[in-house]
């Protein structure tokens, strides 16, 4: 493992592991809420933050965190209030974010779109020591939220209306989800890139679902897949000199295809086991009432 002798690779691998954990950890709630493309939208908005970072000579990672968190809160507010025009407002936010990024980088002193490229598609050699510190702090926040509030986030993502009647602070939890997703985008930005970050939020979850029946297992397997493909992609990128973001995403989709192929015989075996257990199953399901009422005429 000679790649560990390079300081930049050590940093890249640390970042990759943290991306592999955090992206599926928040992504699972976005998938559960049926908003899998939210990460994509935040990624677009984060570009303005990167551009501002260059322009103001500030850290692009922290600037992107601030701007994408703001953008995600705005998206959540649009979801509440903009019933009919919501889609258009979101589209303007996405494209405005992207255009703002390109513009700010270009007018920044000594800036060019080449600087932006490493943020769009990820780059191993440019993960600076200060980036690693920022990524570790942000990843700790994401893990604390997604694990610590898992029951609340699960309830809100599963059935928002019921969660409100349970007395949960639904708005606050939705905002927290949005901000956490925004933070995850900036965690993933240096390795996977803003354009492809959403894939790492969604595809590991979709792949894990092929095997699981519970939310907890889906969470665990999705994170395991995320970490595996992030490390695998980073290492491959080092030896083969290919872009890390694209490698990681293609590996994730590969994992999805393999798990889907494995899941088919597994589902068949489960169905057989269920059928075998049927005679001893729930007697209420097969009970024949002595008398028949009008309710019996069910056209199921």
């Amino acid at each position: 493992m000679d790649l560990l002798n390079y300081a930049f690779m050590q940093r890249a691998l640390i970042a990759a592991v943290l991306v592999g954990i955090t992206a599926p950890a928040i992504g699972i709630y976005l998938v559960q809420r049926r908003q899998p493309l939210m990460g994509d939208g935040i990624g677009h908005v984060a570009m303005t933050g990167v551009g501002l970072g260059f322009l103001l000579n500030a850290s692009p990672v922290w600037m992107a965190t601030a701007v994408s968190a703001l953008g995600s809160v705005l998206m959540e507010l649009i979801r509440w209030y903009g019933k009919t025009r919501g889609d258009i407002a979101l589209a303007m936010l996405f494209y405005g974010g992207m255009a703002g990024g390109v513009m700010f980088v270009n007018i920044a002193p000594g800036g060019s779109n080449a600087n932006l490229m490493s943020y769009l598609f990820g780059s191993l050699s440019t993960v600076a020591p200060s980036d690693v510190t920022a990524i570790m702090i942000l990843a700790a926040f994401v893990v604390a939220v997604t694990l610590g509030l898992r029951r609340q986030l699960f309830a809100v993502s599963q059935d928002e209306e019921f969660a409100r009647v349970t007395g949960l602070p639904v708005r606050a939890l939705n905002l927290l989800t949005a901000v956490t997703a925004a933070v995850t985008v900036t965690v993933a930005m240096r390795v996977v890139g803003l354009i492809l970050v959403s894939a790492l939020m969604v595809v590991p979850v979709a792949a894990a679902q092929q095997l699981t029946r519970s939310f907890a297992a889906t969470f665990a397997i999705a994170v395991a897949i995320g970490v595996t493909v992030s490390i695998g992609g980073t290492v491959t990128s080092f030896y083969q000199d290919v872009p890390p973001g694209a490698t990681i995403v293609l590996l994730t989709i590969g994992a999805f295809v393999v798990l889907t192929a494995l899941a088919t015989p597994l589902a068949r075996r489960r169905a057989r086991a269920a059928a075998a257990a049927q005679p001893a199953g729930d007697p209420a399901e097969c009970s024949i009432p002595v008398t028949r009422g009008a309710g019996d005429e069910v056209g199921v």
């Binding site: 559960q32 049926r34 609340q152 019921f162 349970t166 007395g167 519970s214 019996d296 069910v298």
Partner: protein
């Protein structure tokens, strides 16, 4: 808006009190001055045709529909200031069966217990409550199964367990019998009977009285957003006495014959 008040001395304090409640969806008035009082220990059915406003009325009680006029009180507290949601169990009309990620029966039911926990930390008593709720609806043996593998009736039983797990004093159910198979209907009726016997107050939205009829103390019938009848359940009058009404099943494919053979033959 008037209607006969059935003041029974054995029933207690008002648990739900709606006075002159109006609500609009878009610009269309859906509730046009609803008065509805449900007292402690009562079982009240809210009946009416599709579009009569019965679901909207229930959703306005739990704060899911903005009201434009009138007052709503829960346990004597104006609804806006009501925070004691653990006392209310809600069973929504079943629409989206599952979320975008697999979840087990236990995971779904556990989410109903959050009203009774501090910061979502589950203790032994909370796990026991989940187990008890699953046993109440006869789903304990399916605890580890994914909800996507359940039938419509079993899914409904899970949603009722999710409402019961917080041990509520008021149970609000929106069309609990819609699309539910006979076996589950019997389980639901039995579960409800046990809850009522234990003193739970119940407000049910129903399309027809059906197997729950013996439990119901009072029926409130809505039409076009107004209360048409408030009193003893209408027996063999109104909608469900119309020939053929019982046999309309919107979930069946068009032109499907009621199944008369199979399990029941």
């Amino acid at each position: 808006m008037t209607g006969t008040e059935t003041e029974d001395d054995t029933v207690g304090e008002p648990v739900i009190a709606m006075r002159g409640v109006t609500a609009e969806l878009g610009s269309r008035p859906v509730l046009r001055g609803i008065d509805l009082t449900v007292r402690s220990g009562e079982v009240v059915a809210l009946l009416g045709a599709n579009g009569s406003g019965k679901s909207t009325a229930v959703r306005s009680i739990i704060g899911q529909v903005p009201v434009s006029g009138g007052t709503i009180e829960l346990f004597g507290t104006p609804r806006r200031g009501f925070r004691d949601w653990a006392r209310v169990g809600y069973v929504p009309q079943r629409t989206t069966a599952a979320g975008g990620v697999p979840a087990t029966v236990t995971e779904i039911v556990s989410s109903g217990r959050l009203a009774r926990t501090r910061f979502g930390v589950f203790r032994k008593a909370d796990r026991a409550a989940v187990q008890r709720a699953l046993e109440l609806v006869g789903m304990a043996d399916r605890a580890k199964d994914s909800v996507t593998a359940l039938s419509g009736g079993q899914h409904q039983r899970v949603l009722i367990a999710r409402a019961l797990v917080a041990e509520p004093q008021l149970l609000i159910m929106d069309e609990p019998m819609a699309g539910v198979d006979l076996a589950s209907q019997e389980v639901l009726a039995r579960t409800l009977r046990e809850q009522v016997a234990a003193g739970t107050t119940v407000l049910l939205v129903l399309h027809e009285l059906g197997p729950l009829e013996p439990l119901i103390d009072r029926a409130v019938v809505l039409r076009d957003g107004c209360v048409l009848h408030d009193g003893p359940p209408p027996r063999a009058v109104g909608q469900h006495a119309l020939p053929g009404h019982d046999h309309v099943h919107p979930h069946a494919p068009a032109g499907a014959e009621p199944i008369r053979t199979g399990l029941l033959s």
